[in-house]
């Protein structure tokens, strides 16, 4: 963006405005799920777009701009967490959790959006993150693996377990409030 003439700057801005800016609500949504706090999510969104603007010459037009922006967002978030000393090795509880979810519960019907969100909130972060990135944001396994800097096999197992935990949470919720389940 810097060190180029006005005409090129205007051209680059027009491309950025057309490709990147419409994705701001999506980037904010991912940021909000990632950091939970609105103000922090706004800061992260702002940093992401400032960085994207600076690096826009590296982006190949008409490729997956959303994935590119979310990659920047994850990278910046890691840096922030590192600075704040929050970057800790996450204890691998996957196997432990997998053992506690040994069955495929039926999916209850007639649940509201709010109940689904509550169930999603209750599953551990590393599973929820993968469910949100794949099922909501529709990133591919490969993209999620790159974002989380984790092997693709781990993404697949976390997704599988995340979905199963979500079903379990929904079934428990339904049982508690007497909502009928099919299956």
């Amino acid at each position: 963006m810097f060190g180029i003439g006005r005409e090129e700057r205007e051209k680059e801005w027009a491309a950025f405005e057309a490709e990147a800016l419409p994705l701001m609500p999506d980037v904010f949504r991912v940021a909000k799920w990632l950091v939970r706090d609105v103000s922090e999510a706004e800061d992260l969104t702002q940093e992401t777009f400032a960085q994207a603007l600076k690096s826009f010459h590296r982006y190949t037009p008409d490729t997956n701009c959303r994935a590119w922006l979310v990659t920047i967002l994850y990278h910046l978030n890691s840096k922030r967490r590192y600075k704040l000393g929050q970057l800790k090795l996450v204890e691998d509880v996957e196997e432990q959790i997998a053992q506690t979810v040994a069955f495929e519960p039926p999916i209850p019907q007639h649940l509201t959006d709010e109940e689904i969100l509550q169930a999603l909130e209750r599953i551990p972060k590393q599973f929820r993150e993968v469910v949100v990135l794949t099922d909501v944001e529709e990133f591919s396994y490969k993209e999620v693996a790159e974002l989380l800097q984790t092997p693709i096999g781990t993404v697949m197992s976390r997704l599988h377990r995340g979905r199963r935990l979500l079903r379990q949470q929904l079934t428990e919720y339904a049982r508690k409030f007497g909502i009928a389940a099919e299956g």
Binding site: M1, P25, I116, L117, L120, R167
Partner: protein
């Protein structure tokens, strides 16, 4: 393929991550296995429900005022001339006094740059008077026929609003001459009177911030497009025209007190409802800018119309 084998592939199949050959095997299995078909349908339904719930959740919607401010900051950063360009255009090297002044400016800018880097954008400035969330509705899979009929009628009304904006505010291409709002107040409803004032007053507050730029009232009248009559207020912002269009309707209200972003092939549309009227904001601004305008006028315009709806005065 057996059911157990397929169960191991459920997730990858749903995510469209299987190889073509494996996909064919899965499809062959599904043709003959009702249990797996049902399980797959249930999983697909859950995935859709989660997507809809998350995307509609108010707490994950970006604040339009924040988005607009960020967009303005980015635009300014992107189009700002470089230091070398400024020197070149002012021929500063030819004049020692100017060179000294330029160095001072540079040092101040450098200081400012580091200061800005260490502080976040003052979001509180743009967040004042703004509602916290914006909802982009995702179509529910259980939409009934009645809701579909309402949806179609609403789409038709939106098409009329966009048509009126294009043919009245942009092209002046209407078959019937517009009439004044006072005249329309006598013929088509008292809410027409002073509608322009209800629209512009809240906008003057929001758009007084120098980063947002100024918004102007170009005119107001009552006009008809394709048989539908609108009270029409025309605004101008960043050299673009914006239409605020109010029309009568008795369609049921699906999302009370909400400003909704709608899809249109050519324009940005945001809308909100009162008991018997629909209000559309149509422009070719960005979705965020269009939505910010709609959210800013929504309380005052709703109050203006509802006062007439309740009292008839």
């Amino acid at each position: 393929m057996r059911c157990q084998e397929f169960k191991e592939l459920f997730d990858s199949y749903l995510g469209d991550e299987l190889l073509v050959e494996t996909n064919h095997e899965v499809l062959r299995h599904l043709e003959n296995c009702t249990a797996c078909r049902n399980e797959l349908a249930a999983r697909r339904e859950l995935r859709t429900r989660v997507r809809v719930a998350v995307k509609n959740a108010p707490e994950v919607q970006i604040n339009p005022a924040f988005a607009m401010r960020l967009q303005a900051n980015l635009r300014e950063t992107a189009l700002r001339p470089t230091f070398l360009e400024k020197i070149k255009s002012n021929n500063l090297f030819g004049n020692p006094a100017m060179l000294g002044a330029a160095m001072c400016v540079f040092l101040i800018m450098l200081g400012g740059f580091f200061w800005l880097r260490n502080s976040s954008v003052p979001k509180d400035v743009v967040q004042s008077n703004q509602p916290d969330n914006i909802v982009f509705p995702v179509k529910s899979p259980t939409e009934t026929n009645l809701m579909q009929a309402v949806h179609i009628a609403w789409q038709e009304m939106t098409r009329h609003a966009v048509g009126d904006h294009e043919n009245c505010a942009l092209e002046h291409n209407l078959t019937e001459e517009p009439i004044t709002l006072s005249e329309a107040a006598e013929k088509y409803g008292k809410y027409n009177k002073n509608l322009d004032k209800a629209v512009i007053a809240p906008l003057r507050e929001v758009f007084s911030d120098k980063d947002f730029g100024k918004i102007d009232l170009l005119g107001a009248h009552s006009c008809a497009f394709d048989g539908r009559r609108f009270a029409h207020v025309v605004l101008q912002y960043r050299n673009r025209r914006i239409s605020v269009l109010v029309t009568d309707t008795d369609l049921p209200i699906e999302n009370e007190n909400q400003v909704l972003a709608q899809t249109s092939e050519t324009m940005r549309v945001a809308s909100f409802r009162t008991a018997h009227h629909a209000v559309f904001v149509v422009s070719d601004l960005s979705e965020t800018e269009n939505m910010t305008i709609a959210k800013a006028i929504s309380p005052a315009v709703s109050r203006h119309i509802e006062k007439i709806e309740k009292t008839g005065a």
